[in-house]
């Protein structure tokens, strides 16, 4: 694992954090992104201690409001909350009154009555976190809204890239797979663009939305073309559950054309790394030999996710809605 403590002292961010909510990457400045990444560096160390807990958010309450199933993101937020000594409370759609017909705003107002400090929300509809952020005093963290944004995932991806490559400026990053249904790709395009990377997206035409052309990225339809000379290759899961109808004849054919294998990796730079936001489908978008191979940083991404979410919880909890927004 690459140790790069010097990477943060060189470009230490100095802007203060003033946002009540983290709704997406699109509205953040490059300095705000660097502040979160720098703060996460300090939190990474907490995971290496014998006692993996600091008293920083003692007495703060965080509600994890998950309207869509999620194991990794929710447990990552939960661990981050516990390590900061915050009290976390889990709501999931299947066990709450959401399944009894209550509206999103009513659910949120009920939660507000319990005076939480922060709300982490995942919802199938783009903009759901934004609606809550406008209505609630608590800070809102978007943990994925439809195919729109997933800011903490993009931040942990950037954090992992920075660990291996020292900086993001000038890197060639290729994102391959189900571009249409991915919120991760939208957040990552914003983030990588703001920090100066060259982004290429690759997918079969049936999984490539037209708006990609206008997001300032290079669009290709061949995996080999995307891998050629890349520093970072980010594979996306084929989200069969979101596709109304099959966009390709079979997963086997998809693997033959867009699955990442060791042979295909030869086109990338020698020190290229392979990422995947998980959960991955072995033998569909990625071969096991690559997923478990030396170029894979997939499990580091998971570990870094906790540090990044701790940083976000820490920074947001310092902004009070009464005075914080314009302070």
């Amino acid at each position: 694992m690459a140790e790069a403590p010097e990477s943060r002292s060189t470009a230490r961010s100095t802007v203060p954090w003033t946002r009540k909510d983290l709704l997406g990457i699109e509205e953040l400045s490059a300095d705000e992104i660097r502040l979160i990444l720098d703060t996460a560096e300090s939190f990474r160390e907490v995971a290496e201690r014998p006692i993996k807990k600091v008293p920083t958010l003692r007495g703060k309450t965080v509600v994890n409001l998950f309207f869509e199933s999620s194991t990794r993101t929710r447990s990552s937020f939960e661990i981050a909350e516990k390590r900061l000594s915050a009290d976390g409370l889990n709501f999931s759609a299947s066990t709450s009154s959401l399944s009894k017909g209550e509206s999103l705003v009513d659910t949120a107002l009920n939660l507000q009555a319990m005076a939480p400090d922060l709300i982490v929300i995942r919802h199938a509809y783009p903009g759901a976190p934004h609606l809550l952020a406008r209505r609630l005093k608590a800070g809102v963290i978007n943990a994925g809204d439809g195919a729109h944004e997933h800011p903490t995932q993009a931040l942990l991806d950037a954090f992992t890239i920075r660990q291996h490559k020292q900086q993001i400026q000038g890197l060639k990053v290729s994102i391959v797979g189900d571009i249409e249904h991915s919120r991760v790709v939208r957040s990552n395009i914003h983030l990588l663009g703001k920090l100066g990377a060259e982004v290429t997206v690759a997918a079969p035409r049936t999984l490539m939305p037209v708006e990609m052309e206008s997001m300032g990225v290079k669009v290709v339809h061949s995996l080999d073309e995307a891998i050629e000379g890349a520093d970072v290759i980010m594979m996306l899961r084929i989200q069969l559950e979101r596709q109304g109808k099959m966009r390709f004849p079979s997963t086997r054919e998809y693997f033959n054309l867009f699955g990442l294998t060791t042979e295909r990796m030869a086109r990338a730079k020698d020190d290229a790394i392979v990422m995947h936001p998980g959960p991955m489908n072995r033998g569909v978008e990625i071969a096991s030999e690559v997923a478990d191979g030396p170029t894979s940083v997939i499990l580091e991404q998971v570990a870094n996710g906790v540090a990044v979410r701790m940083a976000v919880l820490y920074l947001l909890s310092g902004v009070r809605s009464e005075d914080g927004r314009d302070a």
Binding site: D38, R49, K53, P55, T56, G324, A327
Partner: protein, 185 residues
């Protein structure tokens, strides 16, 4: 708005600071009966160069390199819910386990004692040192917690309107200790 500050007087010049650090280094070794088990821990920011200077003096005196760690107390502050925005979190690094070590916490100014309280809480989360001692360059009084330093460079009685500013070459480009006074409103 932070108040405007005017330099009132210089209380330690570089040469005096060197003597003070040398004396503290000697006291630490004497008190500990040698350098065995010693671990100096500088509290960020200016406690770190202060600890490194003490370690350098001990090496000159005893020919032994005493390890120096750094401690960031941000996550343990007792005023996080009253200040905004959140302060920048720095890095904590000891380089080795702190269990059974004699730790000398090093800080530039001892004032309310709240920083040291936070530092003690942080240390305990990393292990169980045999003992924790405290070395400060300046003790300016006005304690709000029952904390005292074993090794003190200079005791400087101050009023609440005065500020003690320590500047060390490694961070500030110059070395001195000054008293600054708030401008009358």
């Amino acid at each position: 708005m932070p108040p405007t500050l005017h330099p009132k007087k210089t209380i330690l010049e570089p040469k005096q600071i060197r003597r003070v650090v040398r004396r503290i280094a000697g006291e630490i070794v004497e008190h500990n009966g040698g350098t065995a088990g010693l671990l100096l821990v500088g509290i960020r920011t200016r406690g770190v160069p202060f600890a490194q200077r003490i370690a350098a003096e001990i090496e000159t005196m005893e020919g032994v390199e005493v390890p120096v760690g750094t401690l960031d107390i941000t996550l343990y502050r007792d005023d996080l819910s009253t200040i905004a925005p959140q302060p920048v979190v720095g890095e904590t690094r000891f380089g080795e386990p702190i269990d059974d070590r004699v730790i000398v916490l090093c800080d530039d100014v001892l004032y309310t004692g709240r920083t040291i309280r936070a530092a003690l809480d942080a240390l305990i989360d990393y292990g169980r040192p045999r003992a924790v001692r405290l070395a400060v360059l300046v003790d300016r009084g006005h304690r709000e917690l029952p904390i005292q330093a074993e090794f003190v460079g200079k005791v400087v009685p101050t009023s609440a309107r005065e500020h003690v500013e320590v500047r060390l070459e490694e961070i500030d480009g110059v070395t001195d200790v000054r008293i600054l006074e708030e401008e009358e409103a």
